[in-house]
């Protein structure tokens, strides 16, 4: 049942993706020639259209494209003159690295902040954390990126302006930028989760029986409160992969998002299609894995069905 649904959604996604580029006003053939520095004549354009099958009816084009995609052939990028699969594959790893790194930064910041503000609810530290998360939510990530760049790359010169290398130094600032908004979101989540767990009867019961508070918190409250976070993290990976464009552009980071933006600007149909399709498939697979992993992590879920 679940699989059937996924297949239907996938077909829909591929259709939307294809229709999207099909309806676009820009002429890919013309763009292709202009990109290579040739002023095309009408005959040249017609010939190329024929060659690429761009003058066939919509549905025929869609099915040809779909069967090719299923074979793993997403066509050639017009603007970069390389197979789309190759381009996407070479950019996937840097974006995964970036997403993973920002996830780590976020966890290092969000978990302690959330836990502390829950344990000391309504104290000054809780209010401080509330303030921080609030501002974190309202800061546009591109502005955060630019400010970080201004401070650490231009003024202090600690980090390189172009984050093109794959090393830690070039990864850190883009990852931190991405982490800011996420940290704000997760800190709140952690706080609510811990608070909820603290108000459970078993905590009060254990306290009444004289179990040390620190022991209850470490052994019971934390594991229970932080489990649901794993699901959220999984979902975040998916949206992170698709949300890196802005940051990648600012730091000239060689990832998927940057590639997508340049593909869109040069109306490189195949590349856009490939990118959108790849990311939505990755996203769906991640969601599926998260759903299934829930059964392993939380035994209660196994008995529900």
């Amino acid at each position: 049942m679940r699989l059937l649904q996924i297949v239907i959604v996938l077909i829909g996604i591929s259709f939307i993706t294809f229709a999207l580029t099909y309806m676009s006003p820009g002429d890919p053939v013309r763009n292709m020639y202009t990109a290579s520095g040739v002023m095309p004549t009408q005959e040249m354009i017609d010939a190329t259209r024929e060659e690429l099958g761009l003058n066939k009816p919509f549905l025929t084009q869609y099915f040809t494209w779909l069967t090719n995609c299923l074979k793993g052939d997403f066509g050639k990028s017009y603007s970069l003159n390389k197979p789309v699969v190759e381009l996407l594959a070479s950019r996937l790893l840097p974006t995964l690295k970036l997403a993973f790194m920002s996830m780590c930064i976020m966890l290092i910041l969000a978990v302690p902040m959330g836990v502390v503000s829950a344990l000391y609810k309504d104290s000054w530290i809780d209010n401080l954390v509330k303030c921080i998360t609030f501002f974190g939510c309202a800061m546009p990530n591109f502005w955060v990126g630019l400010l970080l760049m201004l401070a650490f790359c231009v003024k202090l010169r600690i980090f390189p302006v172009m984050a093109s290398g794959g090393d830690f130094k070039s990864l850190f600032l883009p990852a931190l930028t991405l982490a800011v908004a996420m940290t704000a979101k997760y800190t709140r989540q952690v706080r609510t989760a811990v608070l909820e767990e603290l108000s459970q009867d078993y905590v009060i019961g254990a306290e009444a029986r004289g179990v040390k508070r620190s022991k209850i918190i470490w052994l019971n409250v934390f594991p229970n409160a932080l489990l649901p976070l794993i699901t959220m993290l999984g979902l975040s990976i998916g949206s992170l992969l698709g949300g890196t464009s802005v940051v990648e552009v600012i730091f000239s980071y060689p990832g998927l998002g940057n590639l997508a933006v340049s593909a869109i600007t040069s109306s490189d149909y195949n590349l856009i299609q490939g990118y959108v399709l790849w990311l939505s498939i990755i996203y769906m697979v991640v969601n599926l894995i998260v759903d299934m992993s829930y059964n392993f992590i939380d035994p209660r879920m196994r008995h529900k069905k």
């Binding site: 996604i13 309202a138 800061m139 546009p140 949300g243 933006v261 856009i272």
Partner: protein, 277 residues
Amino acid sequence: MLTYKDFLKNKQFVIFGILAIAIILIAVFAPVVTGGIDPLKGDIRDALLEPGEDGHIWGTDKMGRDIFTRVIYGARYSLSATFAVVLLIFTVGSVFGVIAGYFGGWIDAVLMRIADMMLSFPGLVLALAVAGIMGASIKNAIIAITLVSWTKYARLARSLVMKIRNRDYVSAAIVTGSKTPYMIKTYMFPNALPTLIITAATDIGSMMLELAGMSFLGFGATPPTPEWGYMLNEGRSYMGTAPWLMIYPGLAIFLVVVVFNMLGDSIRDVMDPRSQK
């Protein structure tokens, strides 16, 4: 029943309501606030003046245009586009959601599968592709964001309607001859409305950020429009020499988003007392 008095009792709502109105008024009366300076015209000899120099309190950009004037005028574009997006996703989402929830069956199945598809595009991926392919303009950015965001409201409206769809009083009303449009108007829609309004109010800030992000990437406002996201993009190349180009537009986005987020939170607190712990 909620009255305006409940709202006025909430201090946060009053404070940020006033601030929000002030921001809107500044946007509306931009020519008065800026003293009649044209945001699109500048003297190239005044290019990249530092803040405070020559009466330009926030400096000038590479074309010699006054940053303060441009930021104030930018509020117009940012606010109107954001309100348009929120209104559109609110209307489209709740109409589809209420229809799906009320009729059920194949209408529901089709609408929800479409919503599923829209949800399977992560982040801004689809919005970027749509806006990029249709060409850069604020209008296209609005359409693109609407296209990917309406599903949230549709799901919400659907679940709210389904909750009361099979209640006895609803069945009774149908049995006694109430027509479908009447049912939707008097029972279904009002039932879903408060939650939808809360969601819309808390979404204003994030929609503003998304729109600015699109403009920043070059898929929204086009030059010479004084849009904040685009201004940040322009200022990027002068980061070392003229950091004020990116500081003030960013600050403007940040402050406006803070105000509308706070306002949204307070509206939620008033309308949904359960959210207060």
